[in-house]
Symmetry: C2
Subunit: 157 residues, 2 copies
């Protein structure tokens, strides 16, 4: 049974950091296309993608942003976090099989509202920055441990 721990507002310190990693599979890419409706062939059709500047299929930029959201919600601050805003700058393409690491670093705290600003950097396995930005969240007031629900199986094709 996998559990997730939240870090409450009072325990977050400026400069504190955390990471979250995930590898892009074919299934991830198809599920993102389905859930968003973004069926652009640059993501889905290898023949078509060969004729683009990228020469091969690339991930949806917003897939990387989904990983930032997962890092905030499951690692730091973790469960109970309320997502208020995010800025994103897409810097490099992400390809199938790439392993992305989200690096979160606390950059500011606003005691009155319990808002926290967090630098959000996304690196690939070659340590190249693929997405850069910052998040604003409301951190949980108290520490909590939450059981990660089991997801149903998803079959593609």
């Amino acid at each position: 049974m996998k559990t997730m721990q939240s870090i409450p507002y009072d325990e977050l310190e400026i400069g504190q950091s955390a990471t979250y990693s995930k590898t892009l599979t074919e299934e991830d890419l198809v599920m993102f296309a389905k859930t968003s409706g973004d069926v652009n062939p640059v993501h889905l059709d290898e023949e078509f993608a060969k004729g683009t500047p990228f020469k091969t299929r690339i991930a949806h930029g917003m897939w990387s942003a989904g990983l930032i959201s997962a890092a905030l919600a499951t690692v730091m601050p973790g469960p109970g976090t309320i997502y208020l805003g995010q800025n994103l700058s897409f810097r490099r393409p992400v390809l199938l099989g790439d392993t992305l690491t989200i690096k979160l670093t606390v950059s500011g705290k606003q005691d009155e509202k319990k808002w926290v600003t967090i630098d959000t950097e996304v690196f690939n396995q070659d340590e190249k920055l693929v997405v850069k930005g910052d998040a604003t969240v409301m951190a949980p007031a108290a520490a909590a441990e939450v059981v990660a629900p089991d997801l149903p199986a998803v079959t593609i094709g």
Copy 2:
């Protein structure tokens, strides 16, 4: 056979707008959790969600952002668009069964680089603003018509 038309840089005008709509299903929500790894129970466990300020399961905020990405990639400017950046402000929760409409409005053009800034507003079926932000994209140089690939079937559970 569904096709998508791109609107090239030269044909985009300040104030021009376009929309894209999608209804959040259980399958969409589970696929977003799978593809991102965000397994926070506020999205997946109705019993858990009853104890949160929202009283019921809510969508991942970044799912709405995925719809913005789909609108830019498939409607305006459409295929060939390169996504450079996005700012997001999450204003209201999105619930299962909600139908979101993305409204895109061209707000600026930078001829030298063919960059376009686009206001991105997301409304629910009650015309309440759920997400607000703006996108920066590089629009395609020439008009193109692209066939939307068929996605493989996805079975859940």
